[in-house]
Amino acid sequence: MAATATPKLLLADIDEPGLHTREVYERRGGYDSLRAALQMSPEEVLRELEASGLRGRGGAGFAMGKKASFLPKGAMDKYLVCNADESEPGTFKDRELMQKTPHMLLEGIVIASYAAGANRGFIYVRGEYDLQADVLDAALAEARAAGYVGEDIFGSGHSLSLVIHRGAGAYICGEETALLDSLEGKRGNPRLKPPFPANQGLYQGPTLINNVETLATVPVIIRMGGEEYAELGVEGSTGTKLVSVSGHVRRPGNYEIELGIPSREIVYGLAGGPPEGREVKCWFPGGSSAPVLMPEDLDVPYDFDSLGKAGSMLGSGAIIVIDDSTPILDVALKVAKFYRHESCGKCTPCREGTNWTVKMLERIESGEATPMDLEIMASVQEHIIGNCLCVLGDAMAMPIGSMIAKFRDEFESHIEDARAKRGLGDAAASEVALGAQGAEESGHRLAAQGTGAQAPGEHAGAPGTQKGGA
């Protein structure tokens, strides 16, 4: 299979015993990239990073080299923060890297701090990752003892202090500005941007924030050279990527793929597809914040731009597969409840919108909803998008909106069935007085935005219950 021939840059012999120790890591050539980088000027290192085309692996996909170059020059304290909060549902790639090859991350951090001119570093590890934080603590102690972290590293004049900081359980602390507040010892509320962290981040100082996988790739780029790294993958999405596959697949786990291979090769080829006798119903290509895609989208190349064009996103690189045994309502309810729980509460559209969405989905479940609720729910999603301080609200609105658009028929028949079970009559009859004009329009807009809506022939709901049927 083509996909398994991918060069393993991050996962190469990842289970070699003792790889988490400096001794084994160095025997494999570890920290050679750091030595090489410190022979170069920071500008040269930056150039390699930019030439590699490496895009951030944490969610937003911003060019790593460019972001590092945004930090102002000058002698003030500058910070590098490694985002190891990994809480996007479906994502578990950083966990495997930190646990099994912590020195690779440390090496990447030191190189990146040299390139960006940062002298203070922090790794913000989600509080639940006890084992991984312990492994990192031990690795950091070794790296300090060897002089790879600390004052005047290898006589280069570059110094870096590094602290491993453990969170305490809050998804929003993965959002970069919330992470900074949390690291400053506050509640994890996102900040208004601009100013961006590169200008005013941790303790108001210039700050570079990157994901674990992004930083762990840095030593690889220095070893290979930026241009050679950029040969891997496709234009706009260079290199290899760890993909966490979970849900209804036979072999869930992390797979390192070359960006741009067909998604089908990951879902079926590597992860084995859904269990015997089941079919893919839909899939999240980039964590639960990504709009769902349909089985026919499995031929979309797995890279940033192609998934964007298909109406979704690569996000954190977490594929969640849902098979045809699962009602879409269950999926929507899980997703909405998660974002309700994790909303920091600062913006009304997000705080209330996530709550309303859960309530409306619960009405559908308990048989109290009418098809008009679908319109209202769709319009709630629309009103969240773009109206909040951070994108957590959007992160619920986009997948829920996509589910309403693509599985409208299933939602409608669910509404009817649940009403019938409850002994409430035809939903259409109870809609009369409500004149769903406004809501209906926005519902149409949202439906029109969705891609690949279900074939009209599949409509299973009772006739006459379509929206506006009253």
Binding site: I14, D15, P89, S244, I322, D330, F338, R340
Partner: protein, 240 residues
């Protein structure tokens, strides 16, 4: 509906009560959003407006266990701003006291020189900080999407049921714990185990009670990477 002139009457009240209770049965309480979702807890609790806010406690008047004080001070020293140590300090205090009790908060406040209210505002934000008494053994069962599709909701109910009479065990449903490859899973005192079935529950709880390593063969720590190309030669290949 009875008119305003109708005298309140016990039977009527009782009837209303029954209607209300049955209408609400199985549904969230009207203010439930503060209870099981929102990060803005406590709004429905009475506040004593007469009381002055607590000041930074006088260090002379607060007894802090020496080990706890040392740990907090070490954390404070490792950051440019001592306040960055709030999370590690609260977690350390919680380990000592079992939860972020008023006493725990006061001790942290006196070492860190911040107000108790500040610490409470932080503690209420984070899922792993307990703001009410809780069992000392944490069993976090992931009930997020990938785990629930593989039976996490039943697993959670089974563990909760089996541990219901044990005050020492704090069973909670959690959002994605970053281990969907071993779904459904749980974190038992920080140790990840999975995939779990309801048949694993008795032994899981026995291990916790006996202080043994929990379900050793199911611990994430020993699991090889799934990618068949990840390991060459002598290194272990993913089994299933």
């Amino acid at each position: 509906m009875s008119g305003p002139q109708d005298p309140p009457d016990d039977a009527l009240e009782e009837a209303l009560d029954t209607i209300l209770t049955s209408a609400l049965a199985g549904r969230p309480r009207p203010v439930a959003r503060f209870e099981h979702g929102s990060r803005v807890p406590g709004w429905d609790e009475a506040v004593d407006l007469e009381k002055d806010p607590a000041q930074i406690p006088d260090p002379a008047s607060v007894d802090v266990p020496a080990a706890l004080r040392d740990e907090i001070e070490t954390h404070m020293e490792s950051y440019p701003d001592r306040r960055s140590a709030v999370l590690p300090a609260l977690r350390a205090a919680q380990r000592v006291h079992g939860w972020c009790s008023p006493q725990a908060i006061e001790q942290v406040a006196s070492v860190m020189r911040v107000t108790p209210a500040y610490l409470e505002s932080v503690a209420t934000f984070y899922d792993m900080l307990e703001t009410a008494p809780a069992g000392r053994h944490d069993v976090y069962v992931c009930t997020n999407i990938s785990c629930s599709m593989r039976g996490a909701d039943e697993l959670y109910e089974a563990i909760r049921g089996a541990a219901a009479s044990d005050e020492d065990i704090n069973v909670r449903s959690f959002e994605c714990l970053g281990a969907c490859d071993i779904a459904p899973m749980a974190s038992v005192d920080g140790v990840y185990v999975g995939p779990l079935g309801t048949e694993d529950v008795p032994r899981l709880l026995d291990d916790v009670r006996a202080g043994r390593p929990v379900l050793i063969e199911k611990q994430l720590a020993g699991r090889p990477a799934a990618d068949p190309g990840a390991n060459t030669g002598e290194y272990s290949q993913a089994g299933d």
